[in-house]
Symmetry: C2
Subunit: 185 residues, 2 copies
Amino acid sequence: MIYYKKKDFPTSKIRKFLEPGPIVLVSSMWKGESNIMTMGWHTMMEFTPSLFGCIISGSNHSFELIRKSKECVINIPTVNLAREVVGIGNCSGSDVDKFKKFSLTVAKGSKVKAPLIKECFANFECRIKDSRMVSKYNFFIFEFLKAHVAVSPKYPTTLHYRGEGVFMVSGKHASFRNKFRSENL
Amino acid sequence: MIYYKKKDFPTSKIRKFLEPGPIVLVSSMWKGESNIMTMGWHTMMEFTPSLFGCIISGSNHSFELIRKSKECVINIPTVNLAREVVGIGNCSGSDVDKFKKFSLTVAKGSKVKAPLIKECFANFECRIKDSRMVSKYNFFIFEFLKAHVAVSPKYPTTLHYRGEGVFMVSGKHASFRNKFRSENL
């Protein structure tokens, strides 16, 4: 297991890690029960306040934990956690304690009671901002309250799901900074 | 320029190309005026009907073209179009004809009047399904009506934006298919 040393990170810059579209692990807690789910359908929605929208199906055990507690943590796993990511998506929190089953470590947040996953590259604590689209689309809008990001490496090697059991692994980086107008960065 | 040979693709499987989180080009047309914009804040929302949510800021020239025509095309550019992607994000359709400026070719769709970008790996024709979240969040929900995808390669090499002028380029693929329960694929 890799344990990243982390530091506080500005919530207004979280797009750096979520806009590229990685699979994330969502951790939650309600009345002492915690759970983890994998999630691939999500998008940034605003810089400040830092808003994030995502689909959490009502068939997930986490759905009610998040809906009732009104909070969760978005954790970014790196490629070394691929087996855990797949395993977490393949069992239900109604049957097993996923932290125990996958030997993941709980870290405490400062803004929410939901557990952070220590082994992940980044952890974003968030609270439900708007639940009007939940009944029709299972679409939640969260506000990020606090971000913890690994000191290094600069960019995580992340997993991006294509369906059918296939993941794309994030590749190299290219900067076009000098081609951008500053207001469009 | 690369011109992909394309075939019809099932709209229920579009997640294969959008869930990994690539930068997309959005093309639109209203009363004879067409435009293209770059977009990185989007998510799949449902398989069938095939729904897609995204943020299109009111400051984009495309915003009104899409809102009025109620349709657009989501095009997936590959890494060979990086300069065009950056350039398109750096100028406004109120000043220039982007198809002409970037030497891109219009292809005709079958379900919408908005132009398809021939040089892109895939083109997804769509229509607004729900605009209730537009005034508050600039969040549009589209339904995909028709998909055109390159016959090869199997997976496109896509651009994933991190902000600050930096793109992550999609990397290798890994299949964990035999680790999944079939209903979770």
